[in-house]
Amino acid sequence: MGEFIMNILEALFGGGKTTVAQQIAYLQMDLLKDIWETLYSTVLATLFAYVIGLPLGVILVAGERDGVRPLPRPLMQALNIIVNLLRSIPFLILMILVIPLSRVLLGTSVGTVASIIPLVAAAFPFVARLVEGSLRESDRGVLEAAQAMGCTPAQIIFKVMLPEALPSLITGFTTAFITILSYGAMSAAIGGGGLGSLAINNGYQRRMTFILYVAVILLVILVQIFQSLGGWLSARLDRRINRAAKKTRRPRPEKTGIH
């Protein structure tokens, strides 16, 4: 039985310099490490992207002329320009542009940890826009009510805007996480590790077709898991859904891609 399957796999993916059996042996050695590297670089990059992007998104909404805490217009314009600028640079080029920054911050520009820097640089403006979008959905009437009750601008932001937008923020977080996951795969180009590197360096460049497919399928499975998890959590925490009445959740438009 096992031999039969191996024969089929050899017929499908063999023919290169390495047999499927050799590729499987290679995967047994490295696959867990690659999955781990993909996960931790994605998690860390998402975390740092939110550390910068979340406050920035809040400022983009609250600092507007009719926002809860208007900020000087030149400052708002500058922030918008920075966000748009970073979002308009293709990721592959951005990775090269931030090499000096990685050297300064980490002492190296190569490796999985170093790949986090360009990921954060590309993702935080995207995160800021996602957060901005979520907060803009908030009901102006509720903000007005909070203002009428004598909330300070900080109280409106932390006790009204952010908690009320929580389900939408989680949906945005899921989108950001998945986007960063897929961009992380590209960081193999600057020596980052993980499933992307497995697919590009081994699967593609060394013609280990079986490994290429395994890496891609694993990425797809990871994306599915996180998307489902995020969707479930967002719906679970959304108190606007009247569970007793079994109303279906209204679909949210999905935003994709950093650019």
């Binding site: 009901d139 009437g141 009510a145 009428a148 004598g150 006790k159 908690p163 925490l237 108190r239 606007r240």
Partner: protein
């Protein structure tokens, strides 16, 4: 006491300035239920938002117990706002918080600690008649229930003033009556001054003690509800009080008077007794009466007989009646 002095509000728009309010002066005394009525676009919502400075007036003063809100710094304004509550047409509850947490919200921002706030919120749930909804989320409630929670939330900060911005306009007639009754009850029991913004005269009739009629950003007339309803002095007032009234121009009579009933028992015996006691037959050209607190208010347009002697008899008789005032309709042209 709320004193609005010469309030104006101008919104700059692409097509020039929009004068939402012009020289609005009003006084609302403590304990009043003050109605501000007008058609859509009359500036009512802008006006009520000027009272707590959600809208900053372009000119004029907003005095709450003598203190000018427009002159306050941010901190002082925020402190003052905590004594002025507001409820809205769309309720504006926090959808991600339970009802209890919605009611504790104003206390939370004012620094009232957990258990005390919780206890007060539970009391307020009782006051608004929803003691079992503490852990429900607003999405699980009907419109009327949401407004009750909003009222409980409004009361949480022990306000001196409650502003109601079209608070019943999204509700069905029965729920509207229940909510109005609750507001009236709160006014009586807690002595909270209430300002009611509405386009429905029925709301004013139901709960207000005083009323101001707003038209195109101007206050047309003010007074007690009895005064304004029984005898509106301006065209805007008449349009609101008698929306279906007969247009005078179309009436086929030579000598027209308008009589107003100021709370007598009923209008019908007057016309009947006029015929029986004086032998004068008058023509009822139009009538609009309503029942406020069990008393009759309203006006009636009467066409008098062409004979001046008979007409004078009728006028003298009507003038002798208690609770009835009379005026000639001079703008009549047959």
């Amino acid at each position: 006491m709320i004193e609005l002095k010469h309030i104006s509000k101008v919104f700059p728009t692409a097509d020039g300035d929009l004068h939402a309010l012009t020289d609005v002066t009003l006084t609302v005394n403590d304990g009043d239920v003050y109605g501000i009525v007008g058609m859509s676009g009359a500036g009512k919502s802008t006006l009520v938002r000027c009272i707590n400075l959600l809208e900053r007036p372009t000119g004029g003063q907003v005095l709450i117990d003598g203190a000018d809100l427009c002159a306050m710094g941010e901190k002082e304004l925020i402190r003052t706002r905590r004594s002025i509550s507001m409820i809205f047409q769309q309720f504006n509850l926090l959808m991600q918080r339970t009802c209890l947490k919605n009611i504790t919200f104003p206390m939370e921002i004012a620094g009232v600690k957990g258990e005390a706030a919780r206890k007060r919120a539970l009391e307020l749930l009782d006051v608004v008649g929803l003691p079992d909804k503490a852990d429900a989320y607003p999405a699980q409630l009907s419109g009327g229930q949401k407004q009750r929670i909003a009222i409980a939330r409004a009361l949480a900060s022990n306000p001196k003033i409650l502003l109601c911005d079209e608070a019943t306009s999204a509700l069905d007639p029965k729920t509207t009556r229940d909510i109005l009754r609750l507001i009236k009850d709160i006014n009586r029991r807690l002595g909270i001054t209430v300002v009611v913004i509405t386009h429905e005269m029925a709301v004013v009739e139901e709960i207000c003690t005083h009323v101001a009629i707003l038209d195109h950003g101007h206050v047309m007339e003010t007074g007690t509800v009895e005064e304004v309803f029984s005898n509106p002095k301006t065209e805007a007032g008449r349009r609101l009080v008698y929306p279906d009234r007969v247009v005078i121009d179309q009436l086929p009579a030579a000598n027209v008077i308008r009589i107003a009933f100021n709370g007598g028992s009923s209008y019908e015996p007057l016309i009947a007794s006029l015929a029986i006691d004086c032998g004068v037959k008058v023509n009822i050209l139009g009538a609009d009466t309503r029942n406020i607190d069990g008393r009759a208010f309203g006006t009636m347009l009467l066409g008098l007989p062409a004979d001046p002697a008979e007409a004078a008899k009728a006028v003298a008789y009507i003038k002798s009646q208690p609770d009835v005032t009379m005026e000639e309709v001079r703008d009549y042209h047959g």
